[in-house]
Amino acid sequence: MTQTRRQFVGTGLAVAAAFFGLPHIANAAQLEEAIAAFTGGADMAGDGITLIAPEIAENGNTVPIEVDAPGAEAIMLLAAGNPQADVCTFNFGPAAGSRLASTRIRLAGEQEVVAIARMPDGSFKQARQNVRVTIGGCGG
């Protein structure tokens, strides 16, 4: 009896997690891991990188994001509150005309978007911006 009840409660929590994401709890370690994999744990400067994201995203399905880090070899985008933090990594080649790129991403609720640039000298730069994601009014 007790075990059945516990299983039931467990299932309920799992369903809630799938629905609401519980992102901040599940993700913090994974975010650090993803960053460490890219930077090797190096310090990150806060200048020389620009992240443009809407303050308020009308829908978390399609959030336009732009990053620009002059001189960067690569820029990694992360979503700190998503179930999986990695979003994409732009690796620039010799024919790149700038170190600017934009895309559209998914955000599971209000969270910080993180951009980290790797420079040719092995240093890193970081920019973060909080994005609020709107909630529709209708129930269900």
């Binding site: 308020i56 995203a57 009308e58 829908n59 399905n61 709107t134 529709g136 009014g137």
Partner: protein, 288 residues
């Protein structure tokens, strides 16, 4: 007409206490939309006479959206809805049915249909009913192209085709006829518009006539104009038909919606389209 619908006018004073009323405080009006630097869109217009002052200004749904969503509609490459228009173009040129015809066999090119979207739904003499663009496509497919199974009313193929037919009419003024033989359906549509459906007893008018501009949670209620349909909804990541949207709204009242393609929704579409007479066709628009 229902009791609640009749009460609308009488209790206006009381209503003002219960609800905040129309609020455009944090909506940026007065901006214009030009698509691809060439198609002028009318996003604010004088209401048609038949609205009898129910709206002081017509606002396209575009007005209620954020800068980012607005921008996505200003350029066909940025508008994901145009992906479906392209699929519609392929279908337009594809032979379908036993007669060996494609749409292009009769209509040459999609641009030749630019007068369709602004004037639909419209009365169809031969069928003795008001027809939507979807019904017109189905009619072509079954009666002239020899297709046993026309596109489903709300199928992806149908939405692609209707999006194509809308896209070639962008910038043209919506002008659906509501008199003559269409009047009966229009009256039915108006009655539906003011009827409070579902367990939450909500009418179209309560949100989209009396509360547009106000936030419902984080969402700015629009006037519920349909000149941008089929519209690309960020929420669905796909284009959505007018009737599917009607269905979603009645579902959200904890109600039982009418069926997609039903006479009730055709009538409602005619009525809601007529509330936008004076705006311009935008489909496929981009909305949240």
């Amino acid at each position: 007409m229902t009791r609640k619908a009749l009460l609308g006018g009488v209790s206006a004073a009381v209503f003002a206490v219960a609800a905040a009323g129309v609020g455009l405080a944090d909506i940026r009006t007065g901006d214009s939309l030009v698509i691809n630097g060439e198609i002028q869109i009318v996003t604010e217009a004088e209401p048609p006479a038949h609205l009898e002052g129910a709206l002081s200004t017509l606002y396209s749904g575009w007005v209620f959206r954020t800068d980012e969503t607005r921008a996505m509609q200003a350029d066909d490459f940025d508008n994901p809805g145009m992906l479906y228009v392209e699929q519609g173009i392929d279908a337009f040129n594809t032979v379908m049915g036993s007669e060996g015809n494609s749409c292009a066999s009769c209509h040459e090119n999609p641009e030749s249909l630019a007068n369709v979207r602004p004037s639909y739904p419209q009365w169809d003499e031969a069928h003795g009913t008001v027809q939507t663009v979807e019904m017109q496509v189905q009619e072509c497919q079954t009666e002239r192209m020899g297709m046993e199974q026309p596109y489903g009313y709300d199928s992806q193929q149908m939405r692609n085709m209707v999006a194509l037919i809308a896209s070639v009419a962008r910038g043209q003024t919506v002008d659906v006829a509501i008199d003559g033989p269409a009047a009966e359906a229009w009256e039915l549509g108006r009655e539906i518009y003011y009827t409070q459906y579902g367990q939450m007893e909500l009418s179209c008018a309560q949100c989209h006539e009396q509360n547009y501009g106000n936030l419902i949670r984080a969402d700015h209620l629009s006037q519920g104009q349909i000149n941008g349909f089929p519209t690309y909804r960020l929420k669905n990541a796909n284009i959505v038909s007018v009737h599917n949207r009607f269905r979603g709204c009645i579902r959200d009242t904890r109600g039982e919606p009418f069926s997609v393609g039903s006479p009730e929704f055709v009538a409602l579409e005619l009525y809601v389209a007529s509330r936008g007479n004076g705006l311009t066709v935008e489909g496929p628009a981009v909305r949240n």
